[in-house]
Symmetry: none
Subunit: 225 residues, 2 copies
DNA sequence: GGTCGCCGTCAGGACAGCGTCAAGAACCGC
DNA sequence: GCGGTTCTTGACGCTGTCCTGACGGCGACC
C-alpha cells in the first residue's frame, strides 16, 4: 500500500485529506508541524509527501530542504497564497508540484497520481537512511561511506538491514538470529558478536566507541541515526 | 542547449513564449496545431514539451497520448479552462504538469525547470548509459567501446540490460536468471558465471579486475558506472 | 572482594561459491 | 546439409565468507 505523509496545521484539512486518501487506498500518515513531519518521514519513509507551506514551527520550505537532503521522494506543496513568487521558490527548492488552496480533491488526487507515476518510472528512487557517518540504501543493498561503497558480506548486510529497518528500536539477539540465520537458530554461539564487531569496524568512525550500532546489555542491539 | 517544443494556436502567446524561453537559453521549436506538433516532435526529439490543450485540429490530449506512446519526455499542458476535471484528465493521461491561462511567465518557467530537473534525476529518461569505459544504448540495444560497436549475443545483452537498468543496485542471481532465462530457471548451473565473464572480457578494461560489472559474493551482481 | 555471565576481539580451518577453460550440443542462415 | 555462431555443461583451482574456540575486560550480583 502506498504510504502518503500529509503535513498541515489545519485539523479540518488533515482529516479531509485522511478520509479521501484512505478511501483511495492510501495509507495516510499525519503530521501537524515540521518537526513531527521530519520525524515521521525518517521513521516511516513514505512514498509521497503532501506538505503545507505554512507551518507553526518550521517553514514548509525548510522541511522540504531537509527531506531533499536525504531523499528524492515526490513532494507536493500546498499553499494558501496564490503569489507566483512562492510557487517559483517551492518548485526551485525541489518540490514536485504546487497546489493553491482552496483546491478540488480531484485535482489533488490527479496530481498525486501523476507524481507517483513519475517516481515509479525512475528506477533509482530507493529509500535511503542517512547517518552522520554513512548512508544505507536498502533497495540497492549497499552502504556508502566517505563517497565510496563499503563492501559487506551477506551476513553483515542481513544484520545491518534488520537493525536499520527497526532503527531506534531495540532488537533482541533472538530476533536477529531468527531473521538473519533462519528460524532454527535461536541460541547464540557468538555469531552476533563477531559480525557486529565487523560492522562496527567497517562503519563506525570509532569502532571501540560506537555511535550507531549500540548494544543494550543483556537485551540486544539498536541502530541509531 | 535544451530544446523545448511549444504547441499553441495563438500567435501572440507563441511569440511571447519564444522570446521568454530563448532569453532563458532554451532552443525553441514552435507548432501551431497538433499535426505539426507531432511531426516536429518526431523529427527533433525535444527535451520538453509545452502543449496547449485546445488546438484547431487534434485535441491536446490526443497529441499527449501520441507523444506518450513513444516517449516519456516531460509535457506541461496549458489550458484556458480552470475546470478541475480537465486537469484531472490531463494529468491522468500522462501530463507532467498543468497550467491555466492566464499564467505568469515566472511560474511557467519554474514549472519548466522543475519538470526538467525531475526528468534529469530519473535515469529512465535517457536510454543511454555512459561509463568511463563504454556506452550502453538501451533503446538501440548497442554497446559502444573505443568508438566501435561491441557485438553481444542475445543472452549477453539480456544480462547487461538487466544490470544496467538497475544500475547501482544489487541484482540477485535468481532475479537475473528469471529475467534472462525465464521464470522456470531459478537455480544456477553456472550460466551466469560464464556469461558474466564473457561480458567482462568484452567490456572491462581489465577483465580480471572489473570496475563496472561487480560481483558481491553470495549476494549477486551490481553494475557501477 | 570474589565469582559469574556477557560482550568484544582475534586468528585459523572448512567449505561453498566464483572465475576460468574447453568441449560438445543446439541453433540459425544460406 | 553445412559452417558458423551461440548456448550449455562439467571439471578444477582459488578466494572470500562463515563458523568456531579461546581469551581478556567489564559490570552485576552475591
Amino acid at each position: 500500500m502506498t504510504r502518503v505523509l500529509v503535513v498541515d496545521d489545519e485539523p479540518q484539512l488533515r482529516r479531509a485529506l485522511q478520509i479521501s486518501l484512505r478511501a483511495r487506498g492510501f495509507e495516510v500518515l499525519l503530521a501537524a508541524d515540521g518537526t513531527e513531519a521530519l520525524h515521521l518521514f525518517r521513521t516511516t519513509q513514505p512514498e509521497i509527501v503532501i506538505l503545507d507551506i505554512g507551518l507553526p514551527d518550521l517553514d514548509g520550505l525548510e522541511v522540504l530542504a531537509a527531506i531533499r537532503r536525504q531523499s528524492t521522494v515526490p513532494v507536493i506543496m500546498l499553499s494558501a497564497r496564490v503569489d507566483s513568487a512562492d510557487k517559483v521558490d517551492a518548485l526551485d527548492a525541489g518540490a514536485d508540484d504546487y497546489v493553491t488552496k482552496p483546491f478540488g480533491m480531484d485535482e489533488l488526487l490527479a496530481r498525486l497520481r501523476a507524481a507517483i507515476r513519475r517516481a515509479d518510472t525512475a528506477p533509482d528512487a530507493g529509500p535511503v537512511v542517512v547517518t552522520a557517518s554513512f548512508t544505507v540504501d536498502l533497495a540497492a543493498k549497499k552502504v556508502i561511506r566517505d563517497g565510496a561503497v563499503v563492501h559487506l558480506t551477506p551476513t553483515e548486510w542481513g544484520m545491518l538491514e534488520m537493525l536499520v529497518r527497526h532503527r531506534g528500536r531495540l532488537v533482541t539477539q533472538t530476533e536477529l538470529l531468527r531473521e538473519v540465520w533462519g528460524p532454527a537458530y535461536s541460541t547464540e554461539s557468538n555469531y552476533l558478536r563477531v559480525y557486529l564487531a565487523q560492522l562496527r569496524r567497517k562503519l563506525e568512525p570509532e569502532p571501540g566507541n560506537p555511535r550507531h550500532l549500540i548494544t543494550d546489555q543483556r537485551m540486544g542491539y539498536r541502530f541509531e541515526l
